[in-house]
Structures are given as C-alpha cells and as structure tokens.
Symmetry: C2
Subunit: 746 residues, 2 copies
Amino acid sequence: MVLNKRITIQTACFFYMLFFSIAVFAQQPADFVNPFIGTSNYGAAFPGPIAPRGMASISPFNVAGSQNKLEKDSQWLSNPYVKENTFLTGFSQVNLSGVGCPELGVILLMPTTGAVEINHLTYGSTYSNEVAKAAYYSVNIDKYNVKAEFTASKRAGVSKFTFPKGKSNVLLNLGLGLTNEEGAMVKVVSPSEIEGMRSVGSFCYNSPEAAYPVYFVAKFSKPADQFGVWKKPSKYEGTEAQWMTYNGKARMMENTTKMVVGDSIGTYFSYQFDKEETVEVKIGVSYVSIENARENLEKETGNKSFEAVYKETYDEWNTELSKILVEGGSTEGKTIFYTALYHTLIHPNTLNDYNGEYPEIKRGKVGTTKNTRYTVFSLWDTYRNLHQLMALAYPQQQSDMVKSMLEMYDENGWLPKWELNATETFTMVGDPASIVIADTYLKGIRDFDVQKAYGAMLKGADQVENNPLRPGLKEYIEKGYLSTNHRGPVSTTQEYNASDYSIALLAKALGKKEDEKRFKNRSLSYRKLFDKNLKLLRPRTADGKWYEPFDPVAGANFEENIGFIEGNAWQYAFMVPHDIRGLIQLMGGEKAFSSQLQKVFDSKQFDMANEPDIAYPYLFNYIKGDEWKSQEMVQKLVRNYFQNQPKGLPGNDDTGTMSAWLVYSMMGIYPIAPGDPVYTITTPMFDKITIQLDSKYYKNKSIVIEREKNTDGKIKTIELDGKKLPGYFISHDDFVNGKTLKVIQN
Amino acid sequence: MVLNKRITIQTACFFYMLFFSIAVFAQQPADFVNPFIGTSNYGAAFPGPIAPRGMASISPFNVAGSQNKLEKDSQWLSNPYVKENTFLTGFSQVNLSGVGCPELGVILLMPTTGAVEINHLTYGSTYSNEVAKAAYYSVNIDKYNVKAEFTASKRAGVSKFTFPKGKSNVLLNLGLGLTNEEGAMVKVVSPSEIEGMRSVGSFCYNSPEAAYPVYFVAKFSKPADQFGVWKKPSKYEGTEAQWMTYNGKARMMENTTKMVVGDSIGTYFSYQFDKEETVEVKIGVSYVSIENARENLEKETGNKSFEAVYKETYDEWNTELSKILVEGGSTEGKTIFYTALYHTLIHPNTLNDYNGEYPEIKRGKVGTTKNTRYTVFSLWDTYRNLHQLMALAYPQQQSDMVKSMLEMYDENGWLPKWELNATETFTMVGDPASIVIADTYLKGIRDFDVQKAYGAMLKGADQVENNPLRPGLKEYIEKGYLSTNHRGPVSTTQEYNASDYSIALLAKALGKKEDEKRFKNRSLSYRKLFDKNLKLLRPRTADGKWYEPFDPVAGANFEENIGFIEGNAWQYAFMVPHDIRGLIQLMGGEKAFSSQLQKVFDSKQFDMANEPDIAYPYLFNYIKGDEWKSQEMVQKLVRNYFQNQPKGLPGNDDTGTMSAWLVYSMMGIYPIAPGDPVYTITTPMFDKITIQLDSKYYKNKSIVIEREKNTDGKIKTIELDGKKLPGYFISHDDFVNGKTLKVIQN
C-alpha cells in the first residue's frame, strides 16, 4: 500500500489521494525511510533511489564547483552528494553509500535547456524542492525550470525530466565523476539509445592498476531531435600545438554514431518542445558488458513506466523492511530505525547481471552464478554487526554473501578483505571474512560448503609467505603480536586474534579439536601487548620492548598512530570481544575493568563514528550490577548521534555498519562478540519488535522483543517465553527458538 | 611466378630456389616494385606491405624519438617512416601513402625481449637489413635481435616475429601514432586475441570534430604466457595529486580482460621461449565495428600461413601491375615505372569490410555496398591524371570510384572534395569531382547513374548559399572570378573554370545544350584575371582592381600567397588545360606563349613537386614545331626527379598523382586536359608498352605503344595502326580502338 506516498508523483489526484490514504491506510515501513539521513556530517549516504542491494542507483551530484561548501577536488570527499552544498552538476548512475573513499559517482545525467553547454561549471545549477524517499527522489533545477524525478530497479536507474516549452537537452557526462579514475567510451546507437562504458576504480587512491569498467545502455522515451558527442582532448604542447587551432578545446561531434573514447567525453540529446514535455531516460548498468547492461535494462524496466518501476521497487523495499516490524515508539524513532535498516540493505550489493554473469574477482573472467553474487564487502566494518543482522533477519542474503565470499576464494585463492566490484582494495587491516563465515555457520545458516570455507580460513591464518590478507603473519605466529615493524601492530594483532577465535569456534563445531585449541590459544595473544601499568594495549618493537614514546591519546580523529589503525590506545583497549572475561582479569577484576571502561567515555575517548569501540557501550553488561550503564549509555548515544536529519549519523555509515548498530541497539539486543552467536541485551526502544524468521533457516515464524512498560526505563529482569534469563546475554539459538523476549523494567 | 622473390622468406631452400628460379623464370612486374622509392624527400610513401587498394597496411614507424632526423612532433611530418631515420618504435597497421598531412599511422605493434617496457623512447631500437618489396617487408631489430617480417591482405596485416630464446614480448601500443587525435579502447579477449579501437582523424589539423574510430582485432599464433594492458593516465594537479601516489604514472594492469580506455594505453603479450621461436600476429581492421574487423581477419587470413597470405597478395599485385606490360628499357626504368604504377594502386583504397559494410560519409550510419566502396579521394591532386590512368587500364576500379563518389552524394548531399575514411576534410580548393566523373563518362565508362551524377555536379556548381564545395560561388558567378576576399582567389577561379568546362563537356554528351553553353562560358572567366602586361593571372580585389603589391614569384615552396594556393603566379599561369588555345591568344600568339612557357622552366619557377604546373612540360605540344621541347623536358624531369632510390619522387606522391604522371610520361602519352578525353604524345621510354583493356568497357583486348628506334630520340611522326596522326594529340576513343600507336623517331 503505497498510495499515500505516491501522491507527490501523481499530482493530478493529489488531494483526493491524500485524504483517502491518510484516512484508510497506515504508514508502511518503507514510508518511514528518510534518505537524507546521513547526507551530511560525512555520513556519505546519498538521497537518490536504489533498490534493495541494487547495482544501479541515482544520486544528485553536487560536489563539483567551488560554490559548494565541500568540493570534491579540494579535499578528501567520498560522496557524490552533501546536503549543505547548493550547486548541482548532474545525477550519477552508480554510487557507493556510506564509504570513506571516493569511488564511482559517475555517468552523470543532466537536463538543461537552451544552447548545449558541456562544461559542468557552466551548465550546473542551484536546485530546490528536494523530495527523497525509498525508491524516489525529485528536485527542481532552478536554472532551467526542469523538474527531475528518479527511481531505480536493481540494475537500472530511471530518470524523468519535465521540461518547459523550448529547446531542451539531456547531457550524459562521462568525464565528471567522484572517482579519480578517468576514461570512457560512448556510442550513440540511435536517437533514442546510447551505449558505453566508464572506467572507475582507485578506491582510496589505491590499486590504480585494478581500474575496471562500468558498462551502460541508456534508452530515451523520446528520440532526440539532435544529438552528438563531445570530446575534450588533452592539450598538446610544443611545435604541434601551433598547428592545432583546436588544441585542448572541447569539440562537438554532431550527429556521430561512431565510437568515441576519451577522458572527458559526453553526449547530448536535444529536443525542441512546443509545450511542456517529459523525457524518461532508463540507464541499465553492468560490470560485465554492454550487452548485459542492455539485457538488465530490458528485463527489469522494459516497457514499464516510471511509476511502475517506482511501485515495484517501493514494494520491494516495503517487503524487505517489513522483516522487522516495530510498534510503539515515536515516528522519529521509526524513521531513524527504518532508515538505518534501509542503509543495511544497500551494501553488500548485487554484482551479477540479470543473466547471472559477473566479473570474477581480480581475474577479469566472467563467471555465472545461480544465487546472487554480492559485492562491496567492507568487512573490517561489517564483520562487527551488519552480517549478524543479516543472519538474523535476512539469512538467505547472508548465505549468498558467504557463498559470494567462497566464490572469490575459488577465483582468487583468498577470501575477500575489502572487495569492491570484483577488485580487492586491501583497505584496512585484519582477516575479517573468517569471522563472518564462522558467525553465519554457527547461527545455523549452513547451506554453503563449510569444508571449503574452513580451508580458506586456515589458508589465510596459516600461510606465512605471500599472504595478502595477513601481512606480518610470521611474526604474529612466532611472537603472538605484530611489532612496530608493521602497520598498526596492536590493532592488527587484535584483529588477527578475533579472526583466530572465530576459526577456533568453527573448528570446534567441525570437531577439529587440535585446530580449536591452537586457534583459541592464538586468539589470546593480544595479552602480550597489555601494559599492566597503563591497563591499556601498547605497541612493542621487534625486540620485544615497549614502543617509546607512547601517548595513549594520540591517534584519535584519524591521526596517524604507530600502534593503531584509525584510533588510539583507549579506543582499542577493549576490542577483544571474544575474551572480555580474560581482559577483566588482566585489568585486575570487574571493578577495575568497569572503571577503566567508564574512563573511555568520561575522557571523551569514545568514538561513535568508528568501528573499533562501537561495542563498548555494551561491555558494562559483563559486570554484574553495572548493566544499567550499558542501557543508559546506549540510549544516550542514540539520542546524541542518530537523528532524523541529514547529520543524523555519527560519521561514515561504513556501508551500513553504523546503521546496523542503531538497528540492533533500538531492538535492545547486540551481537557483542562477532563470530560467537550470542546477543547481549539492553532496553528496546520500541514497545514491540517482531522479527520475521525465514522458514528455510529457522523453525519459528518470528521472534518478538517486548518491553514491559513501554518506556526507556531501566531493566529489572529479562524473560524468554516467561522464563527469566540468568543475565544480560542470550544465545542466538535460544533467541530464535523462543517466541518472546520480554524486557521487564523497574 | 614469385619464386625468385620468395627466397628471403623460405630460407630453408634458399640456394636451390635461387638458381632454379633465375634460370627458369623471368622477372614479373611485381618484382620490379621498390617500396623504398618515395620514403625520403617527403615522398611520404611507406615501405611496408599493402594489398592493391588495401584498407590495412603495415609500416615501420620511425618518426618518434629525437634521435631521428625527422621527428613527428618537432615539425610537420605526414608519414610514419623516413628512410634517413634510425630509431624504430613499432609497426603501424593503418597508414596513408603519399599524403601531405599527418593521419593514421596508429596501432603500433612492436616485438621486444626481456622485461616489459612500455615507453617507446625506451623500448625503441635501431634496425638493420631492411628488405622491402611488393607485399613484403622485413627488418632486424638490433636491440632485441628479433627478425620482423610483414605482409598484408586487403583488410589485415600479418606480422611474423622470430624471437631468440628467452623472454619475449609483443607490444600493441595504442597511444603513439602519427595522427594528433588521441584515445583508444582495448580488451584482451583471450591470451591469443585482442580487440579494440583507436580514435584517428584531424587530417591536416582540420575538422577535429570528425575524429573517427578504426577498429581492430589481433590474433596471435601462440597464446601469451602473460599478458596485460598498460594505461598512462593524465596528471592530476592540486589537492588530489597529493593523495594519488600513482598520479600521472603508467600503470600495468596484469592479466586484465576488461575493457580499458585512455589516451595512452597498450597491451603486452609475453612469452618465455626456451629456443628460437616465431610468433605471428594477424590484425584485421575495420572502420565499422570490431565484429567486422574480426570477420575481415577470419575471411581473408583465417588459417593461412604468413607465406600463404604473402603469396596471395604478391600474386594480386602481379596481376594488377601486369595490366601494363613494358618491354625494352632499363631495369632501372622498369623499377621506377612499376613502383609508380604500384603507388597509383594504393589510394583511393577500400573502405568497405568483407561483408560490404562501410561508414557512410559524415553521417556515422553504416551502409552496404555490392561494389568496392573506395575512400581517400585526394581529388585536387588525382583529378589531373590518376583517375585518367584508372579509366584506361583499370576501368572497373574507376567505375567503382565514381560509384563511391555518387554514394557519398546520396549520403551527404555533396560530391567529395578530399574525402578520407568517410570524413570530408575539405582540404585544398576547387570542385574536382565533376572533372573526374565527366572524364570517366566521356571515356565510355558509363555503368553508373549519370543523371544523378550530373545533378550532383550542377548542385555543386550552382547552389550559391551554403555550398561547402565552392566557397565564394556567388562572386564567381557574378564576376567570373573570386576576389581577394576569398582564399587563393586566382587558383580557385581556375579550378572552378576547369570543373565548369567538364560540366559543359558532359552536358554536351547528355544533349543539354543550354547547360553546355552556360558552363562553357563560365569556364573561360579566368581570362578576366589575365594581366596583359605581365602575361600572368593576377588577383583582383572585390572592387575589380588589381591586387597590389603583386609579386609573381612570391608563393613558391608553400609560402602563403594572396592569390594562389600552394604556388605562385608563374606556377598557375598555364593552369587552364581546357583553354590552352584561348590562353595562346591572350598571350599574344604561339610564339609569345611558347616563350612565356619556356620562362617558367628557365626561371626555375616550375615545381615538379606540386600539381598546378605538372602538365606544363606537355604544353609545347600545342605549338607546332616546339613539340620537341615537350619531349626533351619530360625526359629531363623524369631523369632529375624520378629515380630508383628513396628520394626518387619529387616530393609528396599525393596519393599517386606524381606516380601517375611518371607512368603516363614513361608510356609517352599524357591526359593533357582533365575531363577532355584526349592524350598528348611524347617519346615513350620503353620499346613496347602493352596496355591490357578490360573487355567490359573496351572492344579491343589491348593497345600497344611502340617507339621505332628503341631510344629516347625525338619524334618525327606518330602513327596509329599505320596511319599518320596530324599532330601530337590523340583522342581516347581513337587510342583504345587502335591496335598500335607507333612513335617514329628521327
């Protein structure tokens, strides 16, 4: 039931529909999605339409041009859209959400009027009346008085431009983009079709040799009256430049249907309208071929109207988001909850085409999958909570994600680390795939080849030479830690420990006792970096001495730090989720631990915007009597950092990791120890939460979380199906096999 | 019979074949071809293999790198190869022959050994042991001790590299090229196949918006052990540059099979050989599509060996060149004759693919032809003699050339002026297509739509506004000449006059008396530019006054000149081939005319290297008693300017125009008045010349030209089939309907 949201599209029956729908229909989960959340404060979300785990998406592109507050070329900027900016230069057709590095944000569509102008700084415009919701975005482009509306299917973006009378143009700019990779090819197939490719890559300014193409086919609802390709070549110098009157100048190749390549090229389709007219542009994309992009376009959007595509994608969003139904709580709360859940359903996203083909990782070969092949595995982030959320509410997707990771192992010999569109960016540290796979298996999602997975995990954990996943592994195995000869040695040791612990857990489940013991032991080696005086983890040099000078505070806010990655000693002090009880002992008991943990928050060392410490608010649950501190802290953090506004994310969403934290936190449970199928519990922020369970993986149809007093009050006891829990933890099995988890408040 | 030329290839049976063949077989016409002629002195020929009127050709590329005497970026250079140069950077797969502007000379194949090096200034090498003959070129590449051999079919080049033991590479450089157009796409399809395109265009640094793609598919006889694509991106500046450690650096994309685009890209195919090994690379090209390039390759070279392709193309050359058999004369004479004839059979060349598809002119659409669609119409040059030679000895080709011109009219609305691979470069002045068409029709080659042709000619001659062929036409019609408001007004007036005369001739043949009269009148309007005092043509200003200051000598050697195009008043003084008798009157009679004509030569104003005056040596034939001067002058010019050596052309071959001059001159006849089917006669340079006549167009099987005394001696009388001619002229009809034209010497 989407009627009450479709009113902005179907303006003709605006009033009738408005009253009718408000009177009859309740708001659906998808109606609570506010895509503007995370479009400021470096959240790096984009407000345009995307289908659940879509390959294609459309974002307004407003980060070029110095009139913008945040300009893409003047600083490190990872997103195609910033809410505070004001100057729009197009609508990019492939985008990443919530990442920390520039990539994609290319194939820019832009409606203009009057003479064709190809310089984005000239044809760009201010804009107004932005509307963003699940599967829909619209805006008025001030300079041209054009209304632009957008929706998307999984592999195609659909744009609809309403032009005033007169000369109108649709530009497709293949030069401008967020990625620093350049180069494109384009061919006008007919006055209503364009095909081409854009080279993208160099995520985080890494691995330029892994640049790769995104192919596209664009179909226009009306054939152009005139069309052409522009090309701005590089500039010659020296003698030749004297003869080239066109040196360095953009050229307009009118009417050409030949293939054109270059770093700065684009097409223009022009119309002469004698009244207000709309033009729809459907753009299918593919990472395999132009043919596949065309098939994606045809199969998904074929002869469908803009409205039909929108309705299908809206319905899909509603279906997905309805897997978790929340009742009670404020509209504001539901908005941030469902928007967060929406954000967790963007990445990992679909890589395979409609026909199942996809580019194999690092090999350039074309594979074929019968499942969904997923991509964009920001595993250093997502191993902590996002995959756990998928395993619970979207187990089929999580299963396909594991299968995708195993396909990568087959193709490339290694599990992924930070995979992006079939390239391995090797961004961040650690070996997080093992944690995700163990976690998935131990939650009962087992329809993948676990023996292969286990072999892959062992390879990453044991192959000392030429191991791209675990640099420094030899020293780690020999000494139990990485010395300062390696990058972020303390953080990396902690990450390896966490992975080793997951391997131990899976080894146990598979009856491999030797491995279990060996990896359990390895997982505790962080203890050698524990400085008893500071009660913090601290880097050691290669000869085993503490690294000097040591400032436990240095390294916050992404400063470089000799021991840590994106954090300091305080932010990493408790990041041993698999051995909190061991850490309690190291720190001198529960009281000392709780006091040290509190110090993280009191001294403002806690960083909500980055992953290492995001589970810390829940760690008070390990200290009997201090659990209220977790409840209080989680509520405070949600209040302070998550709001229904563009800056309503604490920072980079990290492909949904921050959002997954919010979803879990608002449900009152949190996967406290990645790999270990256990949740810790805090006060839910809705009266009733119903998680639909997939019958393929779970015996019950759903599990309900309830709070007794329908407030945010402190917890007295917790009951599962009427039986009191001994503490603030519940295993995944107990949870999904129960009917109701009731939080009874004071 | 190619045995005596094949010995350098089939080295195994070298000695046996050598003696066998010399003993048994005489040299065939193709054996006299020396492709090095015209590779110095700006002849702009290339020494590598090409089939008759081939689309593909291979040229050693030695014009990059400052160690070369003539470097492509340091001066205006129109050819991929210069004999004096020494530094080779590859072998280009599409090339123009004998043109005056840089274009094509791209898709550079280069064998190297050792580590892959992608900078041509580093991987380039000196070379030795060049061998060039019809359909074959070979060279040793000094730096790598690699023997490189080349041959070509009509649409594919075939390269054969003999590598020493060790690591070997075949580079395909898509960045480097003679054209200033940039941009390429490449995709490694498999370890033995590459497909892609290179953007070319901007002939004479004109019309950059008409840049167009040449597509290619390369197949290797051995799959590469390693392969990859390199890409050298442009350099970022500013803030971003700090983050891009790879900024501006070439990157090696190992093993990639994805599409790569960029201005400076290429592929490397590497081998590890444990003994001497050969690799053959076949490269099919197309101006339509990659698919067509692949089909061209398959259909023409399929499973054929290098030797088989060579033999086929050699045989084809021999068949073509045998259309004119010469006997007597020196080997040197036969060499320059058959090499010249070879040069006339390169352009216009084939544009259509094996399946008949070709790019339509200026429209980017794909057309299909059942004939041959020709391209590279340098008509300002070739209207003077090359097409006349084709009409005589290769009438089917000339017919297809006219049909190609009419197709262009259908496609584009205009006859071609200087057409190049389906672009109209508008190089040079005049409206020469009309002359070629009239000349062809009047010679009895009439299997084309003459009514359409006539209509096309009238459109070019009469449409006053928006006429791309005849700028300034309004003034020309009103005043009879172009004033100095227009470029090269005197030259252009002369060109328009010549075209108008041809239209008059065709009008007469078609019974269009009014038109005949009108255009005959128009064709004489150059007379208004005749300055009686100077006895020269001279520019007038828009108000009708003589342009001042006027220096009749200025403008030689391609200096700018207000009145003339690529020449001065002396060089244009007699360029009214249709009205020499009128000019004689203007100049004050035969004696004055002859004296003035002699002055052109005596004052060294005659330029053998450019077209306007190349018929002048024959003009003494118009003066009774002075005909010996033509005989003497022609012989002297041949001696001085045409030799069996690289500098053996007077300058740019102008797509065979200089060579056609030589062919006619050595046969002792010359098409003195383009459009008018008449030859003037001088002493033949062979004892006997047999021109095979195509039975489709001519009733006799052949026509023979003989000289009585088998010397270069002066002519006493001329007989056709025993009947004395009244003068030194013979109509085309009389000539081809005769059996023997005998020149009887003193």
